[in-house]
């Protein structure tokens, strides 16, 4: 395995991707349309991250123990439970469901 070259290249690529937006656009007022898009970017990205991590395994849609764990997390969050307990309960629920035979 060529681990070290991979680490170096991934670090460079990550630096470039995180840096290119700020390098190109800086310190200026926002046009209203831009502001509206930015405000909607967060829900779009976060929902996509939740779905792809909870209901997919690589390029396969897979409903499993982790999906159930995240649904439980959602219920707790709506009831106002804090981030850390929610994350811990999600992990424990997932572990137990997996022990019970879910994928």
């Amino acid at each position: 395995m060529s681990v070290w070259p991979t680490i170096a290249l991934v670090a460079l690529v990550t630096f470039a991707i995180k840096g290119v937006g700020p390098a190109l656009l800086g310190d200026r007022p926002l046009p209203p349309a831009f502001t509206r898009v930015v405000l909607l970017l967060a829900p779009a990205l976060l929902a996509a991250l939740v779905i792809t991590n909870a209901a997919a395994d690589g390029t396969r849609v897979q409903i499993g123990a982790d999906t159930a764990g995240v649904v439980i997390a959602g219920v707790l969050l709506l009831r106002g439970v804090g981030v850390l307990p929610v994350v811990v309960v999600a992990a424990v629920a997932t572990a137990l469901l997996r022990l019970a035979g879910l994928p």
């Binding site: 937006g21 656009l25 909607l40 779009a44 990205l45 849609v61």
Partner: protein, 220 residues
């Protein structure tokens, strides 16, 4: 003075996120070591890359026998969401191009989402304050994870930590957002799920961010 207060405000809300980051990076350390990555390399990767999904993706590909190109490509796709996030953040950063690019490195998903103000600008000191403990925990957790290569992160349910963490951010975001943001979240999630079997890992999230373009219409 005000800057320092914003920095402190970011630090104050960071502990639960930093703790979740510790769990995730612990899982990364264990997974990387189990995949045959040396402990030093795993910790070094967390220190210089600091982007969880990209790290998991690239190490996963190496472990499956993939080449450097495939591993780096997967990491780039995973990180592609930071492109629109960086474009959104840019106008809120002062200084020359290189200084702005450096400040952009502090972005992680949670600090970006929480530093976003209602007027579409970002509170950069809050972002730095929120990211710093997460970075420390990210490196520390990896260091702990590499010591325990016999632990199976799946058996501990650690794969649910990442999505549960993002769900917490999403719920916080929807609470402060408009009705449109619910629709956009649903559209983004559905779009990503539909694309999962069709395109490489990471691309569904990038494409889903396009749902935010409905904001280009006049009415918010």
């Amino acid at each position: 003075m005000a800057d320092r207060e914003r920095l402190r405000a970011g630090l104050r809300v960071s502990p639960p996120y930093a703790a979740a980051s510790l769990l995730l990076s612990f899982s990364f350390g264990a997974v990387a070591t189990a995949a045959g990555v040396s402990p030093l390399a795993a910790v070094a990767m967390s220190a210089v890359v600091y982007a969880g999904s990209a790290q998991f993706a690239s190490i996963g590909i190496l472990a499956a026998g993939g080449g450097v190109g495939a591993a780096v490509g997967a990491a780039a796709l995973m990180n592609s969401r930071f492109l629109p996030m960086g474009v959104a953040l840019g106008p809120s950063l002062p200084g020359g191009r290189f200084r702005r690019a450096l400040q952009g490195q502090a972005v992680v998903d949670s600090s970006w989402a929480l530093a976003l103000r209602e007027d579409g600008t970002f509170d950069r000191w809050f972002l730095f304050g929120h990211s710093a403990p997460q970075y420390a925990c990210w490196v520390l957790g990896t260091g702990l994870g590499v010591l325990t290569d016999r632990v199976d992160p799946q058996a501990l349910g650690l794969d649910a930590v990442f999505p549960a963490f993002f769900l917490a951010l999403l719920v916080a975001e929807l609470r402060k957002g408009s009705r449109t943001s619910y629709g956009v979240a649903l559209a983004g999630g559905a779009l990503a799920l539909a694309l999962v079997p069709v395109v490489p890992v990471g691309v569904p999230v990038l494409v889903a961010s396009g749902a935010a373009l409905v904001g280009l219409r006049r009415r918010p």
